[in-house]
Symmetry: C2
Subunit: 208 residues, 2 copies
């Protein structure tokens, strides 16, 4: 969720070889940075897309070639986040359980959030204060949940429509959200996932 430090894109694809792709990523980042800065300064509804395009020194058409709708400017890292989430499940160390992998992922991403705390809470406030962004974030969360459920089904060998997959996915993404309210988020996440793992173990291996 938190914006990258500034312009320096540290994503899951750290080596975009060609110059072309580098430039493309650069303009995309320039647009996202300009948008976030303006939104934080004056509020989401007070800034128009034209103004953002101007600030990033591109045309509005270019802006919309990079971001399908205005809300997507705020959730720049949406795609990367989902990719990282699925990767955390699919490429987990040998022998690691699904809940354990998800806990790892939740902890590391939460740490990154606690890192730039000022930036992050300002970002959270912005979303919370803007209905359009709340709705968009909600639907995004749902898409991630669905994608995760499918990945879990593939990895666990369960039927894709087994409610267990959807439940695990739902919980795994809900726990970090709920943990934000706690005074010690890391502790809350760890304990939530401990509980989840034990339940998961007994459900998938009923003989225990």
């Amino acid at each position: 969720m938190p914006p990258t430090t500034t312009g320096t894109a540290t994503g899951p694809s750290p080596a975009p070889a060609g110059r072309r792709e580098r430039k493309k990523a650069a303009t995309r980042q320039a647009i996202a940075d300009a948008a976030l800065r303006l939104f934080l300064e004056r509020g989401y509804d007070e800034v128009g897309v034209r103004e953002i395009a101007d600030a990033a020194d591109v045309s509005t058409t270019t802006l919309f070639k990079h971001f399908p709708v205005k809300e997507a400017l705020v959730f720049d890292e949406d795609r990367d986040q989902e990719a990282r989430l699925l990767a955390a499940v699919r490429e987990r160390p040998e022998g690691q359980s699904l809940p354990a992998a998800l806990r790892e992922h939740a902890l590391t991403t939460r740490l990154a959030a606690a890192d730039g705390d000022a930036r992050f809470s300002a970002f959270a406030d912005l979303v919370a204060a803007t209905p359009a962004l709340r709705d968009y974030a909600q639907n995004m969360w749902l898409r991630h949940t669905a994608a995760l459920a499918q990945a879990i089904a593939e990895e666990s060998g369960l039927a894709p429509d087994d409610p267990l997959c959807a439940a695990l996915a739902h919980f795994a993404l809900e726990a970090p959200r709920a943990a934000c309210a706690h005074d010690n988020p890391r502790e809350a996440i760890t304990r939530a996932f401990d509980l989840l793992e034990h339940g998961w173990s007994t459900l998938t291996r009923p003989e225990a």
Copy 2:
């Protein structure tokens, strides 16, 4: 969810005494009817609000005085539905449990859906085929769930933030959705709520 038969509004407020309110309800209904007709004929994205306003013989300004956004034209009965849902919980017969009241409500509304089957399935197809409507419906469902959870908390005396309330609300609204897939929806709903009630009973009265 299913549209009213045609123009004849059979809502929870069957006696709008004043002429003013009757006229207002009439134009509102005229707009919703025109919109649904055009949407079903040609698809949601192929019909503009100006055209709908023309078809209902009102100005677009008037249209937006009745419906906050275009999507709301499709879910005309949103407010009424939520009101009926909450009423089913709050004004349930003395001694009836919450899950039982919710099951009753689910069964009666599902019967109404099975009634005008052709209309209803066309409506469902329209929503399923239009991303904007899917998103809107999803958020609507969430609002209803939140409202129901609060009503459940008030009626049951549980703490408003008790996860049990949210869970019951979630399940009570999810069960009918899942039941649509079954060949015998009534059976599916009844059994789902039976299970829910027994679980609910033991959770609220652990000595049983």
